[in-house]
């Protein structure tokens, strides 16, 4: 197959590079191809999104009215715990790894990930981990019910699901660490020879930094849950006060993992938004270098703020003050990012295709989540907010209208590149408006519920909370339904539709848009210099090509 789109050295393939392995086992089980592994991750994430979404529907159903109507309180607690675990570790994180697999090699002009066989292993651990985790739902005593934070001593009262939970977390951790190692090794060693760090698209940058966060904190989580395991089965008392242990120590260790973890779920989202907004504003990203520094600053700060989750546990005044101010500092680099996105749009020739709509909603709604975050960072007022629905509202704004919206935006943006077909723009817009209205009906009232004192993680509530809960549930069902439409749109697009061009979007820049759509099974297999003028920020920061030009003149 010849690539008729570009005939520069980048995409010039002499032979047929599109032969995919035949047969299901060879193509999918034994695959080492970054695109196929990316697809596997994305399909897995979508499946888990549906499973976690079904659990959310059960939660909202029970909370539709005060009193107990549909499920036992014990089962309700299993639902809140499992919903969070499935969404965080099964949906959001694998979706980002899937996008990394698909896009990073193409964005840096590499033929594949650096360690393709490890890549296969990273993915195929996940289905086993989640089979194990979800199997606990059918065990005597049921699934883990002590919250995704797994605080002892509560988590230890969970019967034998504790062992399953811990091993599942170990497996997800190993998968994430291997994925992160692969991302770093790829970006550091496999870039096209003339592509410097400051030529990299922002999605690549944010993932590089995210991968370092993963390597720094997933082992901490693994250590903490291992000691939960020995406390449960081997009579140790690391976290058991009666045996001289310290349950609060677990909380410190958990949140030393947990706060960077929330940034692991948002930094790649920042990267996606930083790709999409320039495309549809038809302007290069405003403040590229400050974006890179802001990402690094957020990553650094995320290590030193963890105890803002523990203000109500009690700590010395100096501790409270320190964690309060440190936390508020994160708003500064985050503000830089918001400013730069707005600056990119300023006087741009904007159009509002579905990926852009989701990105714009991201900018507005993620900022609402950021604001409630700064409110909770104030130690004295957090004593009131903590463990209420206000927290639930906060993290759903940053995670659903933040991380998940970015994933959806990225899916619409890159789907034509993956499948070779355009999605139906009208359905995409319906999906957007339906989602965005319903998600606010779903989560905005939860701020009021929290301020009025409704605790989180409860199946029943007193009657003064009834109206807002009913509103929230109606929004929830509507949002759930909208995502069924999303699955339909994706399915339709993969099956057929208007043919996509190589560039897909008029304003799109970047190497991934120089290869045909659908992207051939192998791209950039002739590993060589790439055309930096195809990159949004390629020539601006290209020290290397300057040197080459001077060389030319001397000769």
């Amino acid at each position: 197959m010849s690539q008729d789109i570009t005939h520069d050295e980048v995409a010039h393939d002499h032979h047929d590079h599109d032969h995919k392995p035949k047969g299901f086992v060879k193509r999918w089980l034994m695959t080492t191809n970054h695109k196929d592994i990316g697809t596997l991750y994305l399909v897995f994430a979508l499946a888990m999104f549906m499973v976690g979404g079904a659990m959310a529907m059960i939660i909202r159903l029970e909370l539709f009215q005060p009193g107990l109507q549909f499920v036992e309180p014990a089962f309700f607690n299993q639902m809140t715990t499992m919903h969070a675990l499935v969404m965080i570790f099964g949906a959001v994180m694998p979706a980002f790894v899937g996008l990394a697999n698909w896009m990073i090699p193409m964005m840096i002009g590499a033929p594949d990930m650096a360690l393709p066989r490890m890549n296969n292993w990273s993915f195929w651990i996940l289905p086993f981990a989640f089979t194990m985790l979800l199997a606990t739902l059918f065990m005597p005593g049921g699934a883990p019910a002590g919250g995704w934070t797994m605080y002892p001593p509560l988590v230890l009262q969970g019967g034998h699901n504790v062992g399953f939970l811990v091993f599942a977390v170990h497996m997800m951790g190993i998968s994430s660490i291997m994925g992160a190692i692969n991302v770093i090794a790829t970006i550091m060693n496999m870039r096209a020879p003339n592509l410097g760090y400051l030529n990299m698209p922002l999605f690549v940058w944010t993932w590089l930094i995210t991968a370092f966060l993963l390597i720094a904190v997933m082992p901490v989580l693994a250590g903490a849950v291992t000691m939960i395991l020995t406390d449960r089965y081997f009579d140790t008392s690391f976290f058991n006060a009666a045996g001289g242990g310290d349950p609060v120590l677990f909380q410190h260790i958990f949140w030393f993992f947990g706060h960077p973890e929330v940034y692991i779920m948002i930094l790649p989202a920042f990267g996606i938004i930083s790709e999409i907004i320039p495309t549809f504003a038809r302007k290069p990203l405003f403040g590229y270098v400050s974006m890179v520094y802001a990402t690094a600053a957020i990553a650094f700060l995320s290590f030193i703020v963890w105890a803002h989750h523990m203000f109500s546990v009690g700590m010395p005044l100096g501790g409270s003050l320190y964690f309060m101010y440190a936390t508020m500092m994160i708003a500064v680099p985050t503000g830089v990012k918001i400013f730069n996105w707005v600056g990119t749009m300023w006087r741009g020739s904007m159009t509002f295709e579905t990926p852009m709509l989701f990105s714009l909603a991201f900018v507005v709604l993620f900022t609402i989540g950021g604001f409630s975050g700064v409110m909770m960072a104030l130690a004295p007022v957090d004593l009131q907010y903590h463990d209420t629905y206000f927290i639930v509202a906060h993290f759903h704004y940053v995670l659903v209208t933040g991380a998940v919206y970015a994933i959806i935006a990225g899916a619409y943006y890159w789907l034509p590149k993956w499948s070779g077909h355009m999605y139906n723009e009208r359905l995409g817009k319906i999906h957007f408006w339906w989602s965005t209205i319903s998600v606010n009906v779903l989560f905005f009232p939860q701020h009021f519920l929290g301020l009025a004192g409704m605790p989180r993680r409860i199946p029943d509530y007193s009657t003064q909370f009834a109206e807002f809960n009913m509103m929230s549930s109606i929004g929830g069902f509507a949002f759930g339904l909208a995502q069924v439409l999303f699955v339909y749109i994706v399915w339709k697009t993969v099956r057929g539709g208007e043919k996509a061009t190589a560039q897909v979007w008029e304003g799109a820049k970047g190497l991934e848009w120089t290869v045909p759509s659908p992207a051939p099974h192998h791209t950039f297999s002739e590993f060589g210099p790439v055309d930096l003028s195809k990159l949004a920020n390629g020539e601006k920061f290209s020290i290397l090509s300057d040197i080459d030009e001077k060389d030319d003149k001397q000769k």
Partner: protein, 50 residues
């Protein structure tokens, strides 16, 4: 280190060399991850035996 030049198209050997360098990066990162794991367990051990 690979040579940074626009002139030489990278050969198969160059890809192989990059992958070799990548394996080295990976081993270092894996050791770091294990060290972080060991250290976090050590911190709790230390705390629990006080």
């Amino acid at each position: 280190m690979r040579k940074m030049t626009n002139k030489n198209k990278q050969t198969e050997e160059q890809v192989a060399a990059n992958r070799k360098a990548a394996r080295k990066t990976a081993v270092i990162l894996a050791v770091v991850a294990l060290a972080v794991f060991a250290y976090s367990v050590y911190v709790v051990f230390d705390h629990a035996t006080k």
